[in-house]
């Protein structure tokens, strides 16, 4: 078990294109770090540089206090789960899991003990003598994990391990990975393009865009204090709504009426012609369902509802709005970059599932003005980010993690004694 440090890592391909550009990242011992971003952001390349399958153009990769830039993968003692599992089809499940041990010339009875231990953890006992071809997708995935946990590796690396599973299985395996990582308290780097996986699994999440780190923080901080438009749009599902706005007399004038802005941000926001206001879907509510006491904390507005989606436990309403050409183009570019295709400028708002708002009619909404963010449309920078509050969220998450890890290790020590 070891920490992983990256200092100014650059990966440049033959044509000069930097797939990873000046990335510095510290992953302390036992942490689960998520690398997330849309396709082509360099997250997989970064992972492959950690494991040694990809050369590092410049910068230092330090694992457990040792610079490993020039070490072959086998000398780095890391274990990796590949996206398509990369099981050896000519070997049984048993031999697949035992492969790393066989290579290190572990004695047979030790191999048997460790493989069976791993198989028990992953519930693969009854499949040990089968070949990978005869296993289901989820079972193959577990074999790949078994191969990773069977030896005492310095760290685990996962390259989109769940992307080939169907939605239900993905949810199960996600919790399984989380449980396993907590139990083994081993440093883990996990690559995904799925923000749900990032939010649910990660101790900290590193959001990458075009080879550059945007923000490294706990999921809560990313959600509540995103550093820029990109992170704000990427984290959260359904995504954050961005409304064009102008700032006048301490209030933001948007297509959804005027929204009050906390005084401390006035200076930061002032002096720009056009702003983007970011409001998460759940900051909206059907105005008729908002208690009197909460009403003054936000503002109400009337808008026509295009479509509603009722999901039982929640309900979404789609509200179209007009935006200047420049903003429309920018939002479209952003959504394309985030691997989605937003065709029209519309806000997705979450309303109570009991709400009787009907599509095609005008309705009154309330929005919580306390949690909005204001972005500069030209740079994408978040003008109302409270860095201290964000850092506090991440610090708390880290404390929880360390406490949990010590508990696990303490328990393991007691068990060993």
């Amino acid at each position: 078990m070891a920490s992983i440090e990256m200092n100014n890592i650059v990966k440049q391909y033959g044509d000069g294109y930097p797939a990873v550009n000046d990335v510095s990242l510290d992953i302390p011992d036992g942490e689960l770090m998520i690398l997330v971003g849309p396709s082509g952001c360099g997250k997989s390349t970064l992972l492959r540089m950690i494991v040694g399958l990809e050369d590092i153009t410049s910068g230092d990769m330090v694992i457990g206090g040792k610079r490993v830039n020039d070490l072959a993968p086998r000398d780095r003692n890391l274990s990796m789960v590949f996206q398509n599992y990369a099981l050896y089809p000519h070997m049984t499940v048993y031999e697949n899991i035992a492969f790393p041990l066989r290579l290190s010339k572990t004695p047979d009875d030790e191999v048997r003990r460790r493989v069976e231990e791993a198989a028990d953890v992953l519930e693969l006992r009854e499949h040990l003598e089968r070949k990978p071809a005869n296993l289901s997708g989820g079972q193959r995935q577990r074999v790949a994990m078994g191969r990773a946990i069977v030896r005492q590796a310095e760290a685990f690396l996962f390259d989109e391990p769940l992307s080939n599973l169907d939605a239900k299985l993905r949810g199960q395996m996600r919790t399984e990975i989380s449980r396993l990582q907590r139990r083994l308290a081993i440093t883990t780097v996990y690559v995904t393009h799925d923000q749900t996986e990032a939010m649910t699994l990660g101790d900290r999440v590193c959001v990458l865009r075009k080879g550059k780190i945007q923000q490294v923080a706990s999921p809560r901080e990313l959600y509540e204090q995103p550093v820029n438009l990109f992170v704000a749009g990427f984290i959260g599902s359904p995504p954050m709504n961005f409304l064009p706005a102008t700032f006048e007399n301490g209030r933001l004038r948007t297509p959804f009426g005027e929204i009050p802005l906390a005084e401390k941000w006035a200076a930061a926001v002032a002096g720009r012609d056009l702003l983007l206001v970011g409001i998460r879907p759940e900051y909206f509510e059907d105005a008729s369902l908002v208690e009197e006491s909460r009403r003054p904390l936000g503002s109400t507005f009337r808008a026509p509802v295009d479509v509603t989606e009722w999901l039982g436990d929640s309900q979404y309403a789609y509200i179209p709005y007009e935006a200047p050409e420049a903003i429309t183009t920018q939002l479209r570019d952003l959504s394309r970059e985030l691997d989605s295709e937003e065709l029209r400028t519309q806000a997705i708002v979450s309303i109570d599932s009991t709400s009787r708002i009907r599509e095609g009619r005008e309705a009154e909404f309330w929005l919580d003005a306390r949690k909005i963010h204001v972005f500069d449309p030209s740079t994408g920078e978040n003008l109302t980010r409270d860095a201290e509050a964000g850092a506090e969220l991440t610090r708390q998450a880290n404390e929880d993690r360390i406490e949990q890890m010590e508990q696990t290790r303490g328990a393991a020590a007691v068990g060993a004694a």
Partner: protein
């Protein structure tokens, strides 16, 4: 597929089978005909006899045929083995590594493969005589390699390309050296490719006539196809057709057996289950 379509497939399939197998059937039938029967104008021998077989196996032609059979087996197996072994490495490099001149190697291999054999037989004959390789096993193995290597490299690199890169990377992360990854993961996965290549290479060497007849003079190294050409009848007025047919049947048998043995190995799809379904 409708019933009608199915019938058509069967009819056409059987027609093609008959067309292909007819010459073989004829050779077999011919090999059982006596000398008087050869030109009887009938497909089946009027009085089947094994006389031709005894001629070549124990009789007058056996001195010519049996050593030739031994030579053919020895030379072809050695040539096949060397060619598979070398082309395994060459094909791996071509499929996996990026190096300057990769295309050149592939096109040169193709060039060698299509180069007419007969045009280099004469210079080779002279050279072999001078350096003492004439009429030796090695003297045939080397030219056979030039026939089998190009096609082996081509087929095998196609097989190597099919193996997912991740297999090897996974092995390396698991702690294997490049050589271990090659030996324990890539070669077993490429086994169907290796067997296919081996069979093709063996056929090519086994069927060669030009080198066999030109570069040998005695039973020290003469292979079967060359020996068949030297068969003579009981007298100079009798054609050795019957014994040639019998010998042809005998040399076909090992090839058929070889294919049957390795047929299961060649079946594609061994890599199933390596990656997601």
């Amino acid at each position: 597929m409708s019933r009608r379509e199915k019938t058509w497939w069967w009819v056409v399939g059987i027609a093609i089978m008959l067309y292909c197998l007819f010459p073989i059937a004829w050779i077999i039938s011919l090999s059982f005909k006596g000398p008087a029967d050869i030109a009887n104008g009938q497909f089946l021998p009027s009085k089947p006899s094994t006389e031709n077989y005894s001629t070549i196996l124990t009789g007058s032609a056996s001195e010519l045929f049996l050593p030739a059979l031994r030579n053919s087996f020895g030379i072809c197996l050695i040539a096949t083995f060397i060619s598979c072994f070398l082309s395994m490495f060459a094909a791996y490099a071509i499929a996996r590594l990026d190096f300057p001149g990769k295309r050149l190697i592939l096109s040169a291999a193709l060039g060698v493969a299509i180069f007419p054999v007969i045009s280099i037989v004469t210079p080779l004959f002279n050279l072999w005589r001078q350096i003492g390789l004439y009429d030796t096993w090695l003297g045939l193995i080397i030219p056979y390699l030039s026939l089998t290597l190009p096609i082996s490299i081509w087929t095998m690199s196609a097989f190597f390309r099919e193996i997912p890169w991740e297999m090897e990377q996974a092995a390396q992360v698991d702690g294997a050296t490049t050589w271990q990854a090659f030996r324990k993961v890539i070669v077993p996965l490429a086994a169907p490719g290796v067997f296919t290549t081996a069979i093709i290479a063996f056929f090519i060497a086994w069927n060669d006539f030009a080198y066999g007849i030109s570069l040998t003079s005695t039973s020290a190294a003469r292979p079967v196809p060359a020996a068949l050409g030297l068969f003579s009848g009981a007298s100079q007025f009798v054609d050795p057709t019957g014994s040639i047919a019998a010998a042809a049947v005998i040399v076909t048998v090992p090839v058929v057996v070889l294919v049957l043995i390795f047929q299961r190995r060649i079946v594609a799809g061994l890599t199933n289950g390596a990656v997601k379904g």
